[in-house]
Amino acid sequence: MAIDWKKYDPNGCYDELISTPGYARAAARNLTAWLRKLSDEDLQTRKLDAELAIIDKGVTFTVYSDGENIDRAWPFDIIPRVIQLKEWRRIETGLKQRLHALNLFINDLYHDQKIIKDGVIPASLIAKSKGFREECIGIEPPHNVWAHICGSDLVRDSDGTMYVLEDNLRVPSGVSYMIENREVTKRVLPELFENNNILPVDDYPDQLMAMLQSISPNKRTRPEVAVLTPGIYNSAYFEHAFLARSMGAELVEGIDLVIEPDGYVYMKTIKGLARVDVIYRRIDDSFLDPETFNPDSVLGVPGLMKAWREGKVALANAPGCGVADDKVVYTYVPDIIRYYLDEEPIIPNVPSYRCNIKEEREYVLANLENMVVKPANESGGYGMLVGPQSTAKERAQFKRLIRKNPRNYIGQPALSLSTAPTLCDNKLEPRHLDLRPFILQGKDTYVTAGGLTRVAMKRGSLVVNSSQGGGSKDTWIVDTEKR
C-alpha cells in the first residue's frame, strides 16, 4: 500500500487534497481512494512511465547555468493537484477582473494618466518604473488591450485563502508544460479520467490563436500570425516551438523578419516575402528593435517599433505593458481595480509593504526574518530573499540593498504555502506549491482551466521555480456536481 492517509501530515498548512488526517476534499476523493489501493511498486511503475513519456515527447526546459547541456527533461510529479470547479469559477472571474483593470490602467498611463491626476497612484512610481516606455505614449492598440497574455501566480495560505502573488505581463511562460503535464497524466493514470469530470486544458492553442487573430490591425480573412523567438538558447524555446506548432503559426527569429518600404512586416519564405499581421513575441521589450531600444540587439527587427506604432502590425504583448509587471505597482492593483471598474477585488493581493514608503520600509527592515523580499523587476525567483530560510549575512546584505534603492523592493509576510501529496522517494509527502493560470485578453477574455502547478520538491522549501529545482504537477479542475 502506497499511502495511509491518516499518517499524512501537512504540518499545519492547507493541503489541496486532504482536509483533515484521513479525509479527502470532495473534489479529490476519487483520486485519494484510488491512490490508497495502489501498491508501492505500481506507483513506482507509473512514475517511470511518466518519466519515459516526458523523454519520448522531448519535453525539456533550459537552465542557463548548465553549460553544454541545454535541454533538461521537465521535472514532473504524477500526483495531480485538484481544485473544485465551484471554487475555480470564482477565481476565473477574479482573474478576468484583474486583467481588465490592468489593461485599463496601462492604457490610461500611456494616455491621460487620470489615475495619477486623481491621486490614486503617485507620479513618482511611474517616473521611476523600468517598464514605462516613452515610445508608447499615445498609441492605441486594437481593443485598447496591451497585456494580451498574462500569467498570474496564485498561492494559498494556511487558512485556505487564495492570493495573487504576482502578475507576469511581459513574456510569461509555462503554458505548454500545463498541456504536456495533462498529456502525460492521461497516459499514466488513464483510469482516473473515466470516473471524474476533469476539465480539459488542450483548447489553449486554439484560444491563443483566436485571440491573436482578433488583434490583427489588418483586415484579412486569415491574419498571418508568427511566434517570434530569441532562438534555441532561450530557456523557453521548447514552449515557443510548441505553441507555434500547435497554432499552425510560423516560428520566426529576428533575422526572418524585415520591414519593407510600405511599413509592413514581412517574413522571408522560400516563396518570397509574406506579410505578418500579428507577432506573438517571446522576447523582451528592450531587444525588440535595435533602432529604438538596445542597439546591440541581434534578436530583434530594425524598424519593428515604428511598424507597430503606425498600426501595421500587432505585437502581443504590446511594448510598454511591463509597466504593470512591477512588484511595487502590484501593491496598488486592488486600488486599480476599484478605480477603473468600481468593483471590489475578487482575489486579494498578498499583504505587501512598499519600501519606498518610510513606515512600511522600517517594518520590512525590522521583520526581515519573517518576510519575503522581492526586487520590483525580476522574474524567475532571482534576486529575492526568503526570510525564514535566510542567513544573517544575507539579511544584512538585503538591508543595504533596500536602503540604497527602496523603490526597487517590496516585502511580503512569508505565507505558509499550501501543500499537496507529492511522490518523493517511494512515499507521498506534502510539498509546497503555487498555481499559474494563464489569462488571454483580445476581443474576448479567456482563462485556462486551472493552470500550471509548480511544486517545491525539497521538504519545507517554498521556491517553486523550475530554474531553481522546482517540479510541476497536472492541475485538475473537477466538477463534483455533475455525475
Binding site: G58, I232, K268, I270
Partner: protein, 305 residues
C-alpha cells in the same frame, strides 16, 4: 516555409555528405599511397589542393606530409571543410532547425558529433585511421537513410536532397580531378594508372557498380565517362544533377536555378572521355565545378535571401 529553415536544412545535408565524402577520400588515398612505389610524385599534398584550400593549408603547415595533411582534413579547426568542422556545422544547423526534423535525426547527429570529436585523434596515426573513417562513413550514411525513411518527402526534404546531391556532384568532380592530376604528374609511370583510377572508384564507392556495368577493366576514359555520365550510379555527376532537377522543379520560383542546372547538364553531356588528355580533362572538370558553384549561388539567391 521560412528561408532560414530551408537554408539550414540544405546546409545540414551538405555538411553530412561532405564529412562522409572526405572520410572516404582520405581512406582510399591512404590505401592508394601504400601501393605506390617510393619516390612517386602522387602524394598527400594533392588532397588539400583538391579540397580547394591548398593556400590555407600551406599557410598553416610548413611540411606537406601525411600527418599534417590528414590532420588538416580530419581534425583541423582552421580548415572549414575538415570532418570535425563539417559535423559540428551539421549539428549546429540541425540544432537550430530541430523542429523540422524527425526526433531521432537530431539524436543521431548529436551522437555522430560526439563520436568524431572524441575519436578523431586516433585517426591521425595510420593504425587507428581505418576504423575511425569507416565508422564515420557508416554513421553519416545511417543519418541519410534515417532522413529518407522517416521524414515526409515534402519541401523540407527537397532541400535535403538538393544539398546532398550538390555536394556529391561537387565531390565526384574533385575525385576525377585527383585522377587527372595524378596522370599529369606521373607521365613516366602510366603503369600506375589502373591503381589510381581504381582508388578513385573506391573513393566514391563506385568500384563494384562500375565493374558490373563496364566489365572492360579500369581505364581512364571509361572511369571518367562512368563518373560523369552514368545515369544510374548515385554519385555520378549526371545522376546528381537529375536528382536536383527533380527537387528544384517542384519548388516555387525555380526558373533561374533550373536554367543554370540545365546548362551544366548540357556541358557534362557533351564531354567525350575518349578524346581527353590530362590537361583538357582538368579544364572540363573545372568548368563543371564552376557550373555547380553557380547553381549553389542561384539556390541561395532564389530561396535563402
Amino acid at each position: 516555409m521560412l528561408s532560414r529553415v530551408a537554408e539550414r536544412i540544405y546546409w545540414l545535408a551538405r555538411y553530412i555528405e561532405r564529412a562522409e565524402n572526405t572520410a572516404r577520400l582520405v581512406n582510399t588515398y591512404h590505401f592508394l599511397l601504400l601501393d605506390m612505389p617510393r619516390g612517386t610524385k602522387v602524394g598527400w599534398h594533392i588532397l588539400p589542393y583538391i579540397a580547394g584550400s591548398s593556400e590555407l593549408f600551406n599557410e598553416c603547415y610548413q611540411r606537406q606530409d601525411e600527418r599534417n595533411t590528414v590532420k588538416y582534413l580530419l581534425a583541423d579547426s582552421i580548415n572549414p571543410a575538415s570532418i570535425v568542422n563539417s559535423i559540428t556545422m551539421a549539428r549546429e544547423n540541425a540544432r537550430t532547425s530541430r523542429d523540422e526534423l524527425p526526433g531521432y535525426a537530431w539524436e543521431q547527429i548529436n551522437e555522430l558529433y560526439i563520436y568524431t570529436r572524441d575519436n578523431v585523434s586516433t585517426a591521425l596515426a595510420r593504425r587507428g585511421r581505418f576504423s575511425f573513417l569507416t565508422e564515420t562513413i557508416l554513421r553519416c550514411q545511417q543519418l541519410t537513410g534515417l532522413l529518407a525513411g522517416t521524414m515526409s518527402h515534402d519541401l523540407r526534404y527537397d532541400f535535403i536532397r538538393i544539398g546532398r546531391n550538390i555536394e556529391r556532384a561537387d565531390m565526384t568532380t574533385r575525385v576525377i580531378d585527383i585522377g587527372a592530376m595524378s596522370l599529369k604528374e606521373e607521365d613516366e609511370a602510366r603503369a600506375h594508372d589502373v591503381h589510381v583510377w581504381t582508388s578513385m572508384l573506391h573513393a566514391l564507392n563506385a568500384y563494384q557498380m562500375y565493374r558490373k556495368d563496364v566489365q572492360l577493366g579500369v581505364h581512364c576514359e571509361d572511369v571518367v565517362g562512368y563518373l560523369l555520365q552514368n545515369n544510374y550510379f548515385p554519385r555520378s555527376v549526371t545522376h546528381c544533377i537529375d536528382q536536383i532537377e527533380e527537387s528544384i522543379a517542384i519548388l516555387p520560383k525555380y526558373k533561374d536555378p533550373l536554367a543554370q542546372l540545365r546548362a551544366t547538364r548540357r556541358r557534362v553531356d557533351k564531354i567525350k572521355p575518349a578524346t581527353l588528355t590530362a590537361e583538357s580533362l582538368h579544364k572540363e572538370v573545372d568548368q563543371i565545378q564552376i557550373g555547380i558553384s553557380a547553381l549553389h549561388g542561384q539556390i541561395c539567391s532564389t530561396w535563402f535571401e
